[in-house]
């Protein structure tokens, strides 16, 4: 079977789709080595000058730190509150379940721009705009729904008799969850965590409102940067981010076996 699946039509189709998916990134990679000072094609030369400039750009470096910390915090927090909520919503029957589940999804319905505005007016009096805590709070609502969705999807599709088996073998509900349920729903939890991280990491609109001089996230720095300049420094930055992500993935792969987790 497998040899047939790897047939040429499938391969070609998948390759083309990958090409489409990665096209803008490929362009960005090429441009990042250009000598021109605008993002344009074809490149006029080869240099590392934009990488050199990037290394000196304190705002980007600080922005990266802020974004990484915030995104990690958001992902963690979103998982911590999202996964239990997903368990309750998928596995338990209780009054107002539908209402609650709708409520947990509703942040997705509010355009980020509006939520950003609204958050600013709530967070500013609390004096937490422009702090890590404030940014995490601001990103929480828009990431939790993803965690809940992907997690409950996995909960729905998993074989529940494994949970029963664990319980009869003496595992408390918590240990059952940790030792059996969690590994079995790992694809959903992982997807939720990754999406939460990435949404937070890429979130520019809400952040625009709640960043402050002390903590400004990378997308906001980028956003400000491209409003005025379009040199390939941004391209170089993207390439660095991709490289970091690939290293990250390779490490996960080595340590935890991504294949196993996602299969």
């Amino acid at each position: 079977m497998t040899s047939k699946l790897r047939g040429w039509p499938t391969r070609i189709l998948v390759t083309l789709l990958y090409l489409f998916l990665l096209a803008p990134i490929l362009i960005v990679v090429v441009i990042s080595f250009d000598t021109q000072s605008t993002m344009a094609f074809p490149p006029q030369g080869f240099s590392f000058q934009w990488y050199a400039r990037l290394a000196e750009n304190a705002e980007f470096i600080h922005g990266f730190q802020v974004s990484a910390v915030v995104a990690a915090g958001v992902a963690l927090l979103a998982l911590l509150i999202g996964v239990p909520a997903a368990v309750a919503l998928t596995w338990h029957e209780f009054p107002f379940r539908g209402v609650l589940s709708g409520f947990f999804l509703s942040p997705l319905m509010v355009p980020a721009i509006v939520l950003g505005l609204a958050l600013l007016l709530v967070l500013a009096p609390m004096r937490i705009t422009g702090t890590y805590g404030g940014l995490i709070v601001a990103h929480l609502a828009i990431t939790v729904p993803y965690v809940i969705r992907t997690t409950s999807m996995s909960l729905m599709t998993m074989n529940r008799s494994c949970v029963e088996a664990a319980r009869t073998l003496g595992a408390s509900p918590w240990r059952t969850f940790r030792r059996v349920t969690l590994p079995l729903i790992a694809p959903g939890v992982l997807a939720g965590g990754v999406i939460a991280f990435l949404i937070s990491f890429d979130e520019a609109v809400i952040s625009l409102f709640v960043v402050g001089p002390q903590a400004t996230t990378l997308p906001v720095e980028i956003f400000h940067y491209v409003e005025e300049r379009t040199d390939p420094q941004i391209a170089a930055l993207s390439v660095v981010l991709i490289a970091i992500s690939i290293v990250f993935v390779v490490v996960i792969e080595r340590v935890a076996g991504l294949k196993k987790v996602l299969r």
Partner: protein, 286 residues
């Protein structure tokens, strides 16, 4: 295990309370503020008058221009969702099935675009599709066209860029939705005479519905609230609710109107969520 006993209720409470607290602070409170704001009166120079009026709602609902915009936005959301699904599904299915050594890398590649700011990726599309872009240059070089095609600064560009930007989210959702995809069921279908196509439609597709629905909801919502991409690629010629809300909130500074629009958008999406939940429940029943 799903009785409505007291301990069950306690469990449910324990499981949902952290989430409720988090959502209250980071969502409900701001939303309530927003609701209040939508009843204020804003003027076109950006001044806001604290009052209680339905003016903003009336202004929106009484203007067919905005109704067209709602329609356009819905079409954009649906269109991008369907297209994204079409181009993402084969990749997800391939990734689930493949036994390749490079599986991990391939998954990473599918997700990597997310680590590149969508602003930057949109710029990538500008470089690709612009008048001086890669595609136009290639087409001009081959002599297929004799003037650059307008690939951006119109709806086409918005669709292309949005679809690409949404793909990784869709792929992730689909991958998770396949869960522990059981090839044995495919085998069973084939042994019953289903060719690959029919095995797909009758077995693989229905079983992947949770992932498809989740991915679709995710993409739909992200699309209709996306403003960066339509902004950057739309050439100022296409208007959607999100860009309009953004304009009202940041350019015109008419916050009450922006807030009212947001609540109207919310009402619109409530319909989508209801449909989604109904579909989900049908699947869950299985």
């Amino acid at each position: 295990m799903t009785g409505t006993t007291r301990s069950n209720r306690l469990t449910v409470l324990g499981l949902t309370v952290p989430g409720l607290i988090g959502m209250a602070v980071s969502f409900l409170l701001p939303l309530l503020w927003l609701l209040r704001m939508s009843f204020n009166r804003g003027d076109s120079s950006g001044l806001i008058e604290e009052t209680f009026t339905f003016d903003s709602y009336a202004q929106f609902l009484g203007d067919s221009y905005y109704w067209d915009m709602v329609w356009e936005t819905t079409i954009l959301g649906l269109g991008v969702t369907v297209l994204t699904l079409v181009v993402s599904y084969p990749i997800a299915l391939f990734l689930v099935r493949t036994e390749s050594r490079f599986k991990g890398v391939l998954i990473a590649l599918a997700v990597a675009p997310l680590l590149t700011s969508s602003v930057v990726r949109t710029y990538g599309w500008l470089v690709l599709l612009g008048n001086q872009g890669v595609v136009n240059q290639a087409l001009l070089a081959t002599g297929l066209i004799d003037g650059p095609l307008a690939l951006i600064n119109n709806k086409l560009g918005v669709y292309v860029a949005l679809v690409e930007i949404m793909m990784p989210y869709m792929i992730l959702a689909l991958l998770a939705g396949f869960g522990r995809f059981n090839p044995e069921l495919e085998h069973a279908a084939q042994s019953l005479g289903a060719n690959r196509w029919r095995t797909f439609w009758r077995i693989v597709w229905p079983l992947s519905m949770p992932g498809v629905l989740t991915g679709a909801l995710l993409v739909f919502v992200l699309t209709i609230s996306a403003f960066v991409t339509p902004r950057l690629v739309g050439g100022g010629k296409v208007f959607y609710l999100a860009t309009e809300i953004y304009d009202q909130a940041t350019e015109t500074l008419n916050w009450p109107f922006a807030a009212a629009m947001a609540f109207i958008l919310l009402g619109l999406f409530a319909i989508v969520i209801v449909l989604y939940q109904r579909a989900l429940r049908r699947i869950e029943a299985q």
